[in-house]
Amino acid sequence: MSQNIEHIEAKLCAYIDELLDENEAALIEKYLAAHPAERQVIEDLKRMRQFVQQLPMAKAPPEICQGLQSYLERSLLLDESRGAQVAGRIVRWPQWLAAAAILLLGIGLAIVVWVVLSPPAQTVVLAPTAAPAEERSREKQEKDVKTAQVEPDALKKELRARKGQAPAADRAEPVVAAKPSPTPPPPHKGDAYAEQMGGPAQWPTLNEGAPAPAPAGNAKTLWIPAGDIAQVRQQVVALLESSGISYSELQDAEGWNERTGKKDVMAFGRTTTSPAQERGVLEADAGKAAEEPARSAVASTAPSPDPATPASIAPTTRPLVDGPVVILARGLDQRQYLAISRALGPSRDGLLRQDEAKERSVADSAGRPAAAPWALPREQHEMSRPTTTMPSDSRLVDSAPQLGGEVATRAARESQRTAGGSGGAGALTDEVKDKLTAFASTLPTTKPDLTEAPATSPAGQATTQVAQGQAVARVDLYIVLQAPPRTVLTSPPAATAPAPASTQP
């Protein structure tokens, strides 16, 4: 409807403007002739059109041109001023650039400071400094192997503790990554060990089920690179057992790293080997060794003068484990700790070779495993009780060769005492007693006076002075047996330790 009206209005508009063709105009005129009212309206609209068309033509005043001219001039000036504004605009980008440069410099400086000041991974050479020339050459080769990355803070604290507590032990004490832990070690405390060994840091809960550590003790680590882990482990166990030191062994039981979900050679399960079990293994090994008459004869009569020969260091026990082994000795006083650390220090291999023949001879003759070559004297056993003060007459044999000689003598004495007391299968024969007496006579009888200033032992081991009545903190010692990581021993160490057998007639 509205479109129809609009169409009619459009036609009428065109009729008023006389823009319709004749036919359409005729139709409209015919309609208007029949409707006079509409015709009057159309006439009025035509008059309106004429009225508007008759309006006079206004002439533009000159203000328009003047205003436009002034506008053009103003626009020219504004263009110039705009150019001036652009030229004088404060440019921000250099400021942002300077700020970014300062920020980058700050970050770079922080990185440099962090890199410089952060202690790098240190390599600790497990060797005493005061050593004879022949030991030095051997130890130099061992340095290539016996390296460990020690946690820097722990090392600093350990060095600081050494300086403050036992200055004499600085040179003689081998090893050791010390980690002061006034509280029991956390479940993943062994991460440092794993890092030292180049493996992933996944350690089990070392203290689960284990006896609580000494309240004021420290946790220290003695890392022993060993080619034959089983043999060294047996020797360490014998040392601890003979010293009356309680220990627990951590070995690769599961080998499954729950955290990484992978087979992990550094993942340690916890197994505890009782001294009785260990003794059984040793006895079994001793029995196997006894089945070799030729070797036993050689060992009982003339120990190999060259301890580096493969026969003299051939493993006497079956390999118990393939991977790293951690033995945890708890509650060590300082003397025990120093003695063990020296015994298991760089000259350990030499001691093994040196005393192996003696030990083997004694063991063969006594029918029982001999005491460990590093066994502590009886006084040390007594001092292993959880006391904080040392007896005034306590003497620590911290020189490993001397310790070995003394222990060999004591082992023979102990064997005799045990055989005589029990009268069982382990009773010594007269021949064995003679051999032991002859052997003991060849051993050095002098012991270093440990109460004096530090001296250098014939084997190059520094002695340690232990002050009387000195307060000793208990130490939890982690003995880690691990093949040297990432290093290859190109040549076997030339063990030149003085062999007691050489003095034997």
Binding site: E9, C13, L45, R47, Q54, P56, A58, A60, L68, Y71
Partner: protein
């Protein structure tokens, strides 16, 4: 067209010639739209100024005056919508103020001039038409000025106002009806 092309290329002299050529016609149209001479002057200047600013957008699809008139009409309609009041056109501007016709001298020198009573009647008629035109809506005023004063055809008006052709014709018819209603008393 050529002047506008030259002005597009930066020749301000050419644009000045365009201004001189179209200022009277444009001013007259704006004056009939807004009714106020001063406001018509400002709007005319603004239309020329905007034409100069937007001269780069001219594509040549319309005559230069149509292009300028579109700018002026849009400015005028915006101004009228902004004021929101019906303009009371002054009677002095009904004849255009500076119109070429109606002057005493011309009347005296023109022997074909109508007699004074007819001239007075005609002047009165113009004033009434201007007053009635001022009372119309801006859209009606625009189509009346464009068609009856400027003489645009329907298509040009549709292009300028952006309306369909039929709608434009219908709006023009209704604008004339509205003007007739405003002048009914005078006509009777």
């Amino acid at each position: 067209m050529e002047l506008l092309r030259q002005a597009q290329q930066g020749d301000r002299g050419a644009y000045g010639q365009l201004v001189l050529s179209y200022q009277d016609r444009l001013y007259n149209a704006v004056l009939r739209l807004v009714g106020d001479p001063d406001e018509a002057i400002e709007l005319t200047q603004e239309a020329f100024t905007r034409g100069l600013m937007k001269i780069g957008t001219y594509r040549g699809d319309a005559a230069p005056y149509t292009w300028l008139f579109r700018i002026a009409v849009n400015l005028a309609i915006s101004q009228l919508r902004k004021v929101h009041r019906h303009r009371v056109f002054s009677l002095s501007t009904a004849a255009g103020g500076q119109s070429d016709e109606g002057g005493p001298a011309s009347r005296q020198t023109d022997p074909a001039a109508p007699p004074p009573d007819e001239q007075a009647q005609h002047r009165e008629c113009q004033e009434q038409v201007m007053a009635a035109l001022g009372r119309l809506d801006a859209e009606y005023r625009a189509v009346l000025v464009m068609r009856d004063i400027e003489g645009f055809d329907y298509q040009q008006m549709a292009d300028v106002l952006g309306l369909p052709l039929g709608t434009l014709k219908s709006r023009l018819f209704r604008a004339r009806l509205a003007l007739r209603d405003e002048l009914k008393a005078y006509l009777q």
